[in-house]
Subunit: 344 residues, 2 copies
């Protein structure tokens, strides 16, 4: 089959790869009908040292089940399924608590035995635990929306839920990538009254406004912090959703959070240490969030998607065939595209 591999910085290629096969009785094989490139794919894309063997890429996909192992009970061949960006057994204590990213037997796509999502077919471990089945009859037009449940919508939702967004609360969202924009949508759905979106790309922040942002702040760093404070009577907002992952975004989050408030991070930190000392302590700031257990949220978010109440799939502004994956990376790295969907 054909699949995208990363061979070094800036060097993604679609190559021939072994057909995945059922290795465990709990596996399924899924034929990918849509996948995409994630902002987090760009980190290795920028930095990878040469890898002659290549690394399988992609962790977001929806597809059709082709084959299941003998112990798979809930997922059947022919089902349209959503794969979260982590696979999980669905039965351990962490899975039952809704923290599937800490599953005792789980893992992430793109290892030796578990291919990436940017390919024609994927072996899915623990198919019953990992995959969410879409009820039959879903409109083909909903495919982009369904695909966001694989990562970016669930990740934005995680930020908002962990941040404690509730009716009437004020929120700042840092970052106008797909996750930031869907954190805006999530905050709106959870009842936030004021949503200040910090981002510099007008096309993206315009979509953020359609998703529910009430204010857009284009400045960054100290100027951005000042602007948010100006908008909030000097206090900042009770909740800040940080959807970037760079240290300066985290510092910005700490700068715009109200005393007693919460910074909820879903941008993968590109740093090990950060300001977490007396300044934050004195203001009783909570730091929360983390890698999103999106599997936990699909059941909750799918009905709104199927009903057309929300259209998180609007974050996809380009669609390319799988063979053009290298171009998809280029478009995202250059910020010409917000998020690129890949079709077989």
């Amino acid at each position: 089959m054909r699949a995208a591999f990363l061979f070094g910085a800036g060097d993604v290629r679609v190559v021939d790869a072994p057909e995945p096969a059922i290795l465990q009785p709990t596996d399924a094989i899924v034929r990918v009908t849509a996948s995409c490139v994630c902002g987090s794919d760009l980190h290795p894309y920028r930095r990878a040292t040469p890898m002659p063997e290549g690394a399988a890429m992609g962790h977001e996909f929806v597809g059709v089940v082709e084959e299941v192992g003998p112990e798979v009970a809930d997922v059947r061949p022919g089902d349209l399924v959503i794969a979260p960006f982590a696979w999980s057994d669905g039965t351990c204590d962490f899975c039952r608590e809704g923290l599937q990213t800490s599953c005792r037997n789980g893992g992430f796509w793109g290892s030796a035995d578990v291919p990436g999502g940017q390919g024609e077919r994927v072996r899915v471990p623990f198919a019953d635990g990992t995959l969410a089945v879409v009820p039959p009859g879903a409109d083909e037009a909903l495919l982009p929306d369904l695909l966001t449940l694989s990562d970016v919508y669930g990740t934005g939702w995680h930020a908002a839920v962990r941040g404690g967004v509730r009716t009437g609360i004020d929120v700042t969202v840092i970052g106008d990538g797909a996750v930031g924009l869907l954190a805006v949508l999530s905050a709106k759905q959870l009842g936030a009254e004021r949503i200040i979106l910090m981002g510099r790309h007008a096309a993206r922040t315009d979509l953020g406004v359609e998703f529910g942002a009430t204010d857009v702040v284009v400045e960054r760093g100290a100027d951005g912090v000042d602007h948010v404070k100006e908008l909030t009577g000097g206090d900042g907002t009770r909740v800040v959703l940080e959807a970037v992952g760079h240290l300066d975004a985290f510092e910005q989050a700490l700068g715009v959070v109200r005393a007693g408030g919460t910074v909820s991070r879903v941008g993968v930190p590109q740093y090990r240490e950060g300001p977490i000392g007396r300044a934050q302590f004195g203001r009783n700031v909570t730091i929360t969030g983390g890698v999103a257990p999106v599997r936990a949220y699909i059941g909750e978010l799918l009905p709104g998607v199927l009903a057309g109440d929300v259209h998180p799939g609007r974050v996809f502004d380009r669609v390319l065939p799988l063979e053009e994956t290298p171009e998809a990376y280029r478009l995202m790295e250059s910020r010409e595209a917000l998020k690129v969907m890949l079709r077989p």
Copy 2:
């Protein structure tokens, strides 16, 4: 009047100080009947550069109201009152939310106009907002218990509340100082099932066991983390209450918290930066806590103290007259005493 001042590292003296007077119509003058030395007093005690003028010390006291300004309504001369370690107007939005340490008009004891608690008398700003009145008739024997509501009990309670301690939960408490021990007591009151106390001083951890600790771990650092993990099936506990403030204690807290769990800090951080990167993010660890708005908790905790249900005042293992404040500091710095009460 006589009051304790810090003049440099290790140099606390009781000296003659100006009598405090009503400066604002919302002030009260309180004659101190009991105060004490705090673990946090030891930080400047260790490090202060020479201060010829001296710095007024002490931020925990109970006393009797001697005089009130014309706008004081709820506090009357003769009232026995508890002073939290921060003064606050009681009316701003932060005070109404229970975050009095962020009061828009508040502050901390020991400034030019507001003396410290380690003295004979104190000017109390915003007396109605700041002071909690003890109902008449409280037994004199309850004085140590009442004094803990000024700081250490409320601080331990804040750790447990912010950490999300609830019925059946497992908790690790780091630190066997007064705050750590009262974090144990608080966790027990809030229903924690298992409470692992990390501390090295047997007399203190013994009291911790009486307060509700189910396990004591004497090792520190990696060995301490390993021991807690061993006690918890390799996972750590869902809640960790960090009552020390040094970076190694925070690192230890991160080491013993279960994925998806919470580290609640009430030890004043003696660091600016710390590990807050991908390792913590990947495990969805929440960092919360901060300087405790103890004023918010007095109403909730006072009834149990007055009823004798709990005896948080057992953390006081020495009582000295105010004139011997230097000895009180020495005893605490050398760890010969857990916490020293000062009487006029």
